[in-house]
């Protein structure tokens, strides 16, 4: 009997349940990126002129930029001319509005298999869903219910046409296209994503959710999400992501911008389960994402919660700019890296307003040959009187080959600001597992209990159904972690 966690067999065995491919005719642009490709993309989507101009500016900026390589991740060079920047099921009419009855049954079946049925009677109670398949949104549920409350929830490409003033005013106002290499690329070629506007004083009556699915091969997904919470409003949003199992790597470079005006609150949760690659590190998604929230008004609040179990490489730092006085930023994260996964993730809390507060709770789990880095920055600007940050980074190592890094940067420019930082690194200890087994729990259950205990503070921040999902996902991901 071998129960030593020092001799863990790599944690594999278990398949990736979302790894199937939907057999559907796809319109896919030929590989390569140029002003012509971007112009054609914009035309296909019948976009207003301002958007095409913005894309082209972003493209020109991108050409002059260097791909960043400061993260812990190592990977072969990406050939940006080998990627197809647009793929859409032929059955999706780009001019829709569509009802669910008009949606290709193969697409509905895909989402049903993924556990997110789109038919409203079958859907999760109280959750409105936008389903994005490759480069296009295929359906958005509960639109009428939301409309009655005054909430706009629609595909981004539709918003660009229907609500050009809002899009023009806010697009790029949190993440400018010059922000970084991947944000510039996204700004040039982004296809679809979700748009949310919550009017003043409205509490959004449902959870909003987007499910991103990559299906086509040799494509990337470049979605863009923009959420605006007007004065005194509230919205809770959740995104989920999966992709088929393939031997080649696929690029996912998204941008998410959140704007919270005076007294507004946005809660943004992610359960990221992109295909992570196999045990040897073949295949998997490169998840290079820029997410940022702007607490633009006084007493506004933005809360990021993420559960990152997928992707071959994660490069992602959901951040908050605490501009309004007394605004609040939160970041709760569980990141799991197993097999050969590499996760470089964390947050930036930029305190500008007076008495702004932020909380950062990061839980990194590394198993197999997984590498996990928390990279975070807390900046207290000279204007940030009496600002406060609390940061805690905990790393859990499973097995002898896993790695964890903690890379915090603290910048304090005002003497009244307070920063607290705690960091721990622990291993799942043999004596903890033996203790659980002596109480009748098998080894795998013991590991789940220990890992769930480790993640508890973050799971508590997720909407209930998704917390249960997240727990299951972690359990499945760690199946065979000990043996």
């Amino acid at each position: 009997m071998n129960t030593s966690t020092d001799e863990l067999t790599p944690l594999l065995q278990r398949g990736y349940e979302a790894g199937f491919v939907t057999d559907i005719e796809t319109d896919q642009s030929p590989p390569g990126l140029s002003e012509e490709v971007i112009t054609r993309l914009s035309e296909t989507k019948k976009e207003p002129r301002y958007l095409l101009d913005w894309r082209l500016q972003a493209y020109r900026a991108w050409i002059g930029m260097q791909e960043p390589h400061w993260s812990i991740a190592t990977y072969p060079p990406i050939d940006y001319q080998a990627i197809s920047y647009y793929a859409a099921p032929r059955s999706v009419d780009p001019k829709r509005p569509k009802s669910l009855d008009e949606v290709d049954p193969r697409l509905l079946e895909t989402y049903r298999k993924l556990g997110v049925p789109l038919h409203e009677q079958a859907a999760l109670a109280g959750v409105a869903m936008d389903a994005v398949f490759d480069s296009v949104s295929v359906a958005t549920t509960f639109r009428e219910t939301l409309k009655k409350a005054g909430v706009i929830f629609c595909p981004f490409s539709e918003a660009a046409i229907e609500y050009p003033e809002l899009v023009h005013q806010y697009l790029g106002s949190v993440v400018p296209f010059r922000d970084n290499f991947f944000a510039a690329l996204n700004s040039a070629v982004f296809s679809d994503g979700s748009f949310v506007y919550v009017p003043p004083g409205v509490r959004c009556p449902m959870e909003l959710s987007t499910y991103f699915r990559i299906n086509a091969a040799k494509t990337g997904q470049f979605e863009r999400t923009l959420i605006i919470a007007d004065r005194g409003s509230y919205v809770s949003y959740l995104e989920g992501c999966t992709a088929p199992m393939r031997d080649e790597n696929q690029l996912h470079a998204a941008v998410v911008e959140l704007v919270a005006l005076e007294g507004a609150e946005i809660r943004y949760a992610t359960v990221q389960n992109w295909y992570p690659g196999d045990e040897e590190g073949r295949g998997g998604i490169y998840n290079f994402v820029t997410k940022r929230g702007d607490c633009r008004g006084a007493r506004s609040k933005i809360s990021w919660t993420q559960v990152e179990t997928g992707s071959a490489i994660t490069w992602k730092y959901p951040s908050c700019i605490l501009r309004g006085d007394e605004s609040i930023g939160e970041f709760y994260s569980v990141a799991l890296a197993r097999h050969r996964q590499q996760a470089d993730t964390g947050t930036k809390m930029i305190h500008m307003g007076r008495r702004t507060r932020s909380v950062v709770i990061s839980k990194g789990i590394s198993a197999g040959h997984g590498r996990n880095a928390y990279r975070g920055m807390v900046r207290m600007a000279p204007t940030a009187l009496h600002a406060h940050n609390y940061t805690r980074c905990d790393s859990l190592l499973i097995g002898p080959h896993s790695q964890a890094y903690t890379i915090p940067v603290l910048e304090v420019r005002h003497p009244s600001a307070r920063i607290e930082h705690e960091a721990t690194t622990s291993k799942i200890a043999d004596d903890q597992i033996f203790y659980c087994r002596q109480r009748g729990l098998d080894e795998e259950t013991a590991v789940h209990l220990l890992v769930n205990g480790f993640c508890r503070e973050v799971f508590q921040k997720l909407p209930l159904e998704f917390a249960v999902e997240a727990q299951k996902l972690i359990a499945v991901s760690l199946e065979g972690a000990v043996g």
């Binding site: 009997m1 071998n2 129960t3 030593s4 200890a429 043999d430 004596d431 903890q432 033996f434 203790y435 659980c436 087994r437 002596q438 109480r439 009748g440 729990l441 098998d442 080894e443 259950t445 209990l449 220990l450 769930n452 205990g453 480790f454 993640c455 508890r456 503070e457």
Partner: protein
């Protein structure tokens, strides 16, 4: 003494840890309902014995046989032993912060119940069982919300072990120095918990340095373990003898 078949039957047990023999041909028979105390100086092999019985992976069984209720214990995993009713109260219970006590206890109780063919407790039934038993060892409901042993005092950890024993209803409970580090009040609480669990179907092994615990829990048999072997067995009087004269006279007889 009764004449039933032993619940636990240890024959000629030789155990190594880190290339050193800790147990050297130990024999021990415990019948249902009996309470045995095992005493002995530091390093005599008391903890090794009970930890090996529970299946701790740090020990190598070189030789010998252990049967538990007629079954070969050595072929069973630690969780299978636990599910068949073997319980170890740890000398040093581990801390698991983040994992709630209530959640952990319920998972453990239900793992054992399922193995016995009993219907698992739902939250209400579990809470009912907890409320019945926790006051015996002086623990309140707030305890369910805390992490497993996280930030507990020494006494609380030991009382938690006894509470788990009460909830899991084992057939054989091994208490590894549950009395050490306890003040007299905590000791009484622990003893009360143990006495509450005594029955004709349940056997108990008390590993202890001191006679003191035996003032509160009356054993049927007292063994003295020295250098990996039981050198003497007797009644409670043997414990008093050791209290008076120490282990030296017994060591002398070994030579």
């Amino acid at each position: 003494m009764n004449n039933e078949q032993p619940l636990l039957d240890v024959r000629n047990l030789w155990i190594k840890a880190q290339d050193q023999f800790i147990l050297n041909g130990l024999d021990l028979q415990i019948r249902p309902g009996e309470v045995h105390a095992i005493m002995g100086p530091n390093g005599s092999g008391k903890s090794t014995l009970v930890q090996s019985l529970a299946g701790h992976p740090g020990y190598t069984i070189e030789k010998g046989e252990i049967s538990f209720d007629g079954e070969d214990l050595l072929t069973l995993t630690p969780e299978e032993r636990a599910r068949r009713g073997l319980f170890l109260a740890f000398q040093y219970p581990v801390e698991i912060s983040g994992l709630g006590n209530g959640y952990f206890l319920k998972a453990a109780v239900n793992a054992v119940r399922e193995a016995r063919g009993q219907i698992p407790y739902d939250a209400v039934e579990f809470l009912k069982a907890f409320r019945e038993l926790a006051p015996l060892v002086g623990l309140g409901q707030d305890f369910l919300e805390r992490g497993v042993n996280a930030g507990f005092s020494g006494g609380e950890k030991k009382r938690n072990e006894i509470l788990q024993m009460l909830l899991l209803e084992p057939r054989l409970a091994l208490l590894d120095e549950t009395d050490s580090g306890l003040d007299v009040d905590a000791l009484k609480l622990v003893a009360r918990g143990v006495n509450a669990t005594r029955s004709k179907d349940r056997s108990i092994v008390l590993v202890t340095h001191y006679q003191r615990l035996l003032d509160y829990i009356d054993p049927d048999v007292v063994h003295v373990l020295i250098k990996g072997r039981i050198v003497r067995s007797g009644t409670r009087e043997l414990a008093h003898e050791i209290e008076r004269g120490g282990y030296e006279p017994l060591l002398a007889t070994m030579a």
